[in-house]
């Protein structure tokens, strides 16, 4: 590892952890009391929203009402997104004259953005009008993240309340997430990104006279370069912060106008993990014991750092297939070296792998390099991180509630070993919680494996695989891992914009979102109704290094048991062939 690469990684993790306490404290304030300053400005707008919607802010909801509100809001969002895409050809703010999107692609994208997945079967600059990007994609970037945050806040109330039937008001939690957390952070980030060269304009695409004309496939000479522009910065800011990941342009944050400099890259990378990391602290504060939040955050960080190191080693080692061709892949002061296919010069190996690890640890899914071109094992790391259930930081809110469910499983397993009723943060864990936890953990696994099996068995599934051999299988496995865990990144060679993939992956995203979220709300409701049990001599403390280790083990064990066989068919066998060639 070069010393600079090591320094950049340490700097990244250091800055991230330094942001946890301030932002975590601030978010606790947002969900438990008034926000001084900002609330004087936005408070009236917030009240107006509630008045127009007919929401009373003190009306508490039971978990079933809370779930109903989540489902209704998501359903309306999906319907609106579908219609807007279908009709964009007839609507304004469409300078490039984009036609209506096909039914299957609209279906897929509508679900994709509402479920905070942001899987993109389409290319942004060649499919979506500015209007669609702003009114649907951009809005769902905010509200789908806010829904995730709201649910984890409700779960925290489940732990902190005693003998209560309610877990908060969804509309208030969601609105406050948007107004006091996501909007201010996005505004700040967007302006900082523009300063680096990210575009933000409503003008038509720019046209440039080329220094040297290029020849197209038909042998004709092309002398101008059309440069896609648009209101990109505002969307990129929230797609990073809200763990959405849906790019403005086709290649996402690899595009120089979406991510022009190392500094813009750093800001975007920090934004991927910022809210998921800080929410751990918020959770700790809300349940009245910040050590619980730190334990979870530590477990996440350890797994992240481990996987980061692995990806770096594999990518920096370069592609053995190019070794005999006279290519220099060694790192030096003059080049980053390594496996540079599908990576940008300004990011090199270090910043490409930090991004790839962060974006799949969190359920962000934005990319600044093409994961499809990674070495077999380098590309396996992002895949595994998604398959672990998106709980290593995970999505805004959704990562933490997933990890809390794993913590519940961890105390349950330890409870079995010593023969005591398991407890977690002052609540007895009963059969009902365990049933719900099993649903949360198993649903995405089933979708990944069954979905992949269907796709590789079906003619339509195999038809659009791009790379030959084991790598082609990896493309399909990656797609279903990504959709079922609401990540959204891709081995982009796979032609996924077909009715087959649009439909099947759409269903996976729905299950991956709601089959996880609703059981979590059920757990929240059930815990809130319980009384609190005092810590006794038989209580397993859940803030110790031992528990951190236990939690990591459970996460890794579930992942390994579920996915090792399928990984053996894809990246592992590809690696073995590659090194033996």
């Amino acid at each position: 590892m070069t010393s600079n690469a090591l320094f950049q990684m340490v700097f990244y993790v250091g800055v991230l952890l330094a942001c946890v306490v301030p932002l975590g404290r601030y978010m606790t304030m947002v969900f438990t009391r008034r926000v001084p300053g900002l609330e004087n400005v936005l408070g009236p707008v917030e009240s107006l929203f509630y008045r127009l919607c007919g929401v009373r802010r003190d009306d508490e909801m039971m978990w079933k009402q809370y779930s109903l509100a989540v489902i209704a809001f998501s359903l309306v969002g999906i319907l609106f997104g579908y219609l807007l895409q279908r009709m964009q050809g007839m609507l304004p703010l469409n300078p490039a004259g984009m036609a209506g999107v096909t039914p299957d692609s609209s279906f897929n994208t509508a679900i994709s953005f509402v479920t905070n997945t942001n899987w993109q079967g389409y290319g942004g600059e060649s499919t979506m009008s500015y209007l669609t990007q702003m009114l649907f994609l951009n809005v769902q970037n905010f509200v789908s993240a806010a829904v995730g945050i709201a649910v984890v806040v409700a779960l925290a109330r489940g732990f902190s309340r005693k003998n209560s039937t309610t877990i908060g008001n969804f509309w208030v939690d969601m609105t406050r997430s948007v107004m006091y957390v996501l909007l201010p952070l996005s505004l700040l980030l967007a302006v900082m990104l523009v300063s680096q060269g990210v575009v933000q304009t409503f003008d038509n695409y720019a046209s440039v006279e080329l220094k040297e004309p290029v020849t197209n496939a038909e042998g004709e000479s092309v002398a101008t370069q059309t440069i896609a522009l648009g209101p990109a910065a505002s969307q990129i800011a929230i797609k990073q912060l809200g763990t959405n990941g849906g790019g403005f342009f086709n290649v996402n944050s690899a595009h120089p106008l979406e991510n022009p400099t190392p500094w813009s890259n750093f800001l975007e990378m920090i934004s991927i993990l910022l809210i998921p990391a800080a929410l751990c602290y918020t959770f700790g504060e809300m349940v009245g014991d910040t050590r619980q939040g730190w334990a979870i955050l530590l477990a996440m960080t350890f797994v992240f750092v481990g996987f980061l190191g692995l990806t770096y080693v594999f990518e920096q080692a370069g592609n053995p297939a190019l070794a005999g061709l006279g290519v220099d892949q060694t790192a030096s002061e003059l080049q980053s070296g390594g496996n540079m296919e599908g990576k940008e010069t300004r990011f090199g190996i270090a910043n490409s792998v930090i991004w790839a690890t962060a974006t799949t640890a969190a359920s962000n899914g934005s990319v600044n390099s093409m994961h499809d071109s990674y070495t077999p094992l380098g590309g396996m790391v992002p895949m595994v991180l998604m398959q672990l259930g998106e709980v290593i930081f995970g999505g805004a809110g959704s990562g933490l509630y997933g990890m809390v469910v794993f913590a519940i499983v961890a105390v349950f397993i330890s409870g079995l070993m010593v023969g005591r009723t398991p407890e977690y943060i002052g609540k007895k864990i009963g059969a009902y919680e365990m049933k719900m936890a099993s649903l949360v953990i198993l649903a995405p696994c089933v979708m990944v494996l069954v979905g992949t099996a269907i796709a590789v068995s079906a003619e339509q599934g195999r038809a659009t695989i791009f790379n030959p051999g084991a790598h082609g299988f990896s493309e399909v496995l990656y797609a279903f891992s990504s959709a079922s865990n609401n990540n959204g990144s891709a081995f982009a060679g796979l032609g996924a914009n077909t009715p087959f993939y649009n439909g099947l992956l759409g269903v996976c995203m729905l299950v991956g979102r709601f089959w996880v979220m609703l059981p979590v709300l059920a757990i929240a409701g059930s815990l809130a109704a319980k009384k609190s049990v005092p810590v006794g001599p038989g209580t397993l403390p859940t803030h110790t290094p031992l528990f951190v280790f236990l939690l990591i083990s459970v996460v890794m064990l579930v992942g390994a048991l579920s996915f090792l066989p399928s990984l053996a068919l894809g990246p592992i066998v590809e690696h073995l062939i590659l090194i033996s060639a």
Partner: protein, 190 residues
Amino acid sequence: MLTQIRISVVMLVLMTVLTGGVYPAVVTLIAQTIFPRQANGSLIVVDGKCVGAELIGQQFSEPKYFWSRLSATGPVAFNAAASSGSNYGPMNPALKDAVTGRIESLRGDQSDHAKVPVDLVTSSASGLDPHISPASAQFQIARVANARNLEAAKVRECVDAATEGRQFGFLGEPRVNVLKLNLALDSLAK
């Protein structure tokens, strides 16, 4: 359920106004006021003509120019209206072909068989990478100097001037902006 759907509809409309209308409008207003050049694509205008965008690469194949990285965009290379990577897996035979072909055209009639820096023979992620590594620029100095009848030292000066270090001294990688370097060489000839 009906009540929740009614609230959902109104809430979505309000959120759309706030985050889909007001928010991008405010960002655009600030961006166009403080950073108009960056917000509009960092275009390079020479003699009233727009000759390129600082952040978007172009293809060069004449010996007198420094060449950019490979671009996998279609239907032409460096199509900035449809960004794309190659998505070749590491064992894809097409990757090997592309790399071999590129090495041959880079070496041309050069007799030396120095190893070619990896970024110069591979496609970038975006297909629009404006940069090459300093190693790749130095690799091409002899060819460019030869084609332009310039001293190698003179061309090296231009390369050094166009080389950007790591941002703030440690972020990212050192790199050379190919379009800017070629424009500098052209203005040298005038």
